[in-house]
């Protein structure tokens, strides 16, 4: 029996015996920093801020509105991908097929749209297909009992391959993202004289503006999705049962949690967010690129965002907001390295080293945080 229950370490039970609220006291004595650190994603917030401060001191144009707009496409898509992945990772599973969904959904969208289906229904059908793939992932994992790593790796290759087959490996223009150019005369004042100069203005349709091409489109999608999914994770039975399965699968099942249903549902969600990002990115770029290596890179960055944001690979713990901050951290790193004028060949090298250094710092910040007795 002792093997099942295992009490907490002596030091912790002592700490909780000291008084009714040891955690609240450490807030008071250590101020706002301790308050931030006591959050699950607190340490990565600190690391992200330090990184941002470093780049704003090192480069003159990091802290500008224009740079914020450049930063958006780095982290908004990663945020959405990682947000869905968090739901699978908290279960203690992993979904590698998001790379394939990211690649597959815009190609399917293109095929549907060129077959005569209008834009929004094409998006909806493409996303429903992604969700069906997610359900298959969940079925293999929860019902058949294949490890999710292997099952979704198989699905990754299968659907990346399928994407190449149906697209014939050729890039195409994204439907609905056509750019119309008009010329307008803009009034300028030069040396006190009013003159009119002709300028070319690019226009995209409302569909494109909403689905990724608008400057803040992906950012707004990301913020809304993070808000909804974090709310679902913290304040609904679904989220509670997700954590329960990841923390103690047998116990959750004994308590009556429908492990299979929740597992399948979370895989469906993860595939849906990945498919959505695929379409958003294709509309933003204006073209659909059947490029599995690019999709695989996005896949790794998305999982890295979730892990950097504090989600455990072992399951049972994680937050969607953490995934947002993890993605923001990776975005700041990439953007900052470019602003610093790092040679393109060195970028990946420095990025890798920076991630390792930052995560090492993160571990020490977390230990300091545990030292406050608020782990």
């Amino acid at each position: 029996m002792s093997s099942v229950t295992g009490g907490p370490p002596a030091s912790e039970s002592q700490a909780s015996g000291e008084g009714p609220e040891p955690r609240a006291r450490s807030f008071d004595t250590h101020g706002p920093l301790a308050r931030v650190l006591s959050l699950r994603e607190g340490s990565i917030i600190v690391v992200a801020i330090v990184t941002a401060v470093y780049f704003s001191l090192e480069t003159s144009n990091f802290l500008t509105g224009a740079n914020f707009k450049t930063l958006l496409p780095y982290f908004a898509p990663l945020t959405i991908l990682a947000a869905g992945e968090v739901f699978v990772m908290i279960l203690g599973e992993i979904d590698l097929s998001i790379g394939a969904m990211y690649l597959f959904s815009p190609i399917l969208f293109y095929k549907l749209s060129t077959a005569g289906i209008s834009l929004v229904p094409s998006v909806v059908i493409a996303l429903l297909c992604c969700m069906a793939v997610g359900a298959v992932n969940g079925f293999f994992t929860a019902v058949v009992g294949i490890s999710s790593f292997v099952a979704t790796l198989g699905m990754l290759f299968t659907f990346e391959g399928l994407s190449l087959i149906i697209s014939h490996g050729a890039p195409v223009n994204t439907p609905g993202a056509e750019v119309h150019q008009t010329t307008v005369k803009v009034e300028h004042v030069v040396n006190g004289h009013h003159i009119f100069l002709t300028e070319t203005v690019n226009h995209v349709g409302t569909f494109a503006k909403i689905f990724g091409a608008g400057t803040y489109s992906e950012f707004i999608w990301a913020i809304v999705i993070v808000f909804l999914l974090q709310t679902a994770l913290t304040f609904t039975r679904w989220g509670l049962h997700t954590v329960a399965i990841g923390s103690n699968k047998l116990g959750a099942a004994e308590a009556g949690v429908s492990v299979r249903l929740i597992t399948i549902r979370n895989f469906v969600l993860c595939s849906l967010t990945a498919g959505l990002v695929g379409i958003l990115e294709a509309v933003r770029a204006g073209s659909v690129q059947p490029d599995p290596s690019g999709a695989n890179e996005i896949l790794f960055f998305a999982i890295a965002s979730a892990v950097i944001g504090g989600t455990l690979l072992a399951g049972g713990s994680g937050t969607v907001i953490g995934a947002l901050i993890g993605a923001l951290f990776l975005g700041i790193l990439q953007d900052g390295l470019i602003l610093q004028g790092v040679n393109a060949n060195y970028k990946l090298f420095y990025l890798g080293l920076a991630i390792i250094v930052a995560m090492t710092v993160n571990v020490y910040v977390q230990r300091a945080r545990r030292g406050h007795g608020s782990g």
Binding site: T5, S16, N248, S317
Partner: protein, 275 residues
């Protein structure tokens, strides 16, 4: 091999007019292992039934079958006289049977009050967000009623002691509006102080007469003290079914001593047959 061994008495299906639960001819195999061979059991209204048995005798399998966690291979169960075929733990709970499993089924990452309401959470209407304040309040009331001291109910249960965790698992089941409680070793990780609190709680529930309880225990003194009736399960069958006031620690001990002696003799004869 187990089938070849003679068992002195196998309790046949018995019943009483005020039975809430009857279990008849239940069997369950896990691959080559026969966990339950032919189990007959009944539980009367307001009764506390103590279930005794050696490790691996099938106690927990029986509890998991009644609780809806797993299905029997054959045999029938009856709840209030009606056929009872739970589709799952949740279904069993909705029919009034709730269980404290041996491993407690607590979620370390979740707070005390989320564990208390796991799978029967209160939610707001119309937007189904968790009604955390209400769950906290009711958890506090429930724990106070039992008399278990848990200073903070918003900490993760991972930070509590073994006894506190066990108390929460018991409180969760007692608090569930079920009328049949299954307790699989409710005293296992507890010290004398917490254990006596749980036994007091069982005595209080018995006095109220609302719930009927099947409790797996190891300590014969506890069985005689807390239970109305005692059943012993050996090798997947029930071999003893007696009111506690007709048996004694000596009789129960003797049954177990005999069981060990038989096992030893059997092993010896098998070795001779081989040699």
């Amino acid at each position: 091999m187990a089938d070849a061994q003679p068992i002195e008495t196998v309790v046949p299906p018995t019943s009483a007019p005020d039975d809430v639960l009857r279990v008849e001819h239940i069997s369950k195999r896990f691959g080559p292992v026969t966990a339950l061979r032919d189990v007959n059991l009944h539980l009367r209204k307001g009764e506390v039934l103590g279930l005794l048995g050696d490790n691996g005798s099938g106690k927990s399998t029986l509890i998991k079958t009644i609780s809806g966690f797993q299905k029997q291979d054959s045999g029938e169960m009856f709840l209030h006289g009606e056929p009872y075929r739970p589709r799952g733990v949740d279904d069993a709970r909705s029919q009034g049977i709730d269980t404290v499993f041996q491993d407690l089924a607590l979620i370390d990452e979740l707070s005390v009050y989320h564990n208390m309401f796991l799978c029967r959470e209160h939610v707001h209407h119309p937007i189904p967000l968790l009604a955390n304040r209400r769950m906290k309040r009711e958890t506090r009331t429930a724990l106070d009623e039992i008399g278990i001291n848990i200073p903070r109910i918003d900490v993760a249960v991972a930070r509590l002691s073994g006894g506190q965790r066990q108390a929460i698992a018991v409180a969760r089941t007692v608090n569930s509006d079920a009328d049949i409680l299954l307790l699989d070793e409710p005293l296992a990780a507890m010290g004398a102080k917490e254990g006596s609190m749980i036994l007091d709680l069982v005595a209080r529930l018995k006095a109220e007469g609302r719930v009927s309880i099947i409790m797996i225990l190891h300590n014969y003194v506890h069985v005689l003290q807390a239970c109305d009736r005692v059943s012993m399960i050996q090798d997947g069958v029930i071999t003893l079914d007696k009111p506690t006031n007709e048996t004694s620690v000596e009789e129960l001990t003797e049954i177990v001593v005999n069981e060990y002696r038989r096992a030893r003799e059997q092993e010896r004869s098998e070795r001779q047959a081989q040699g």
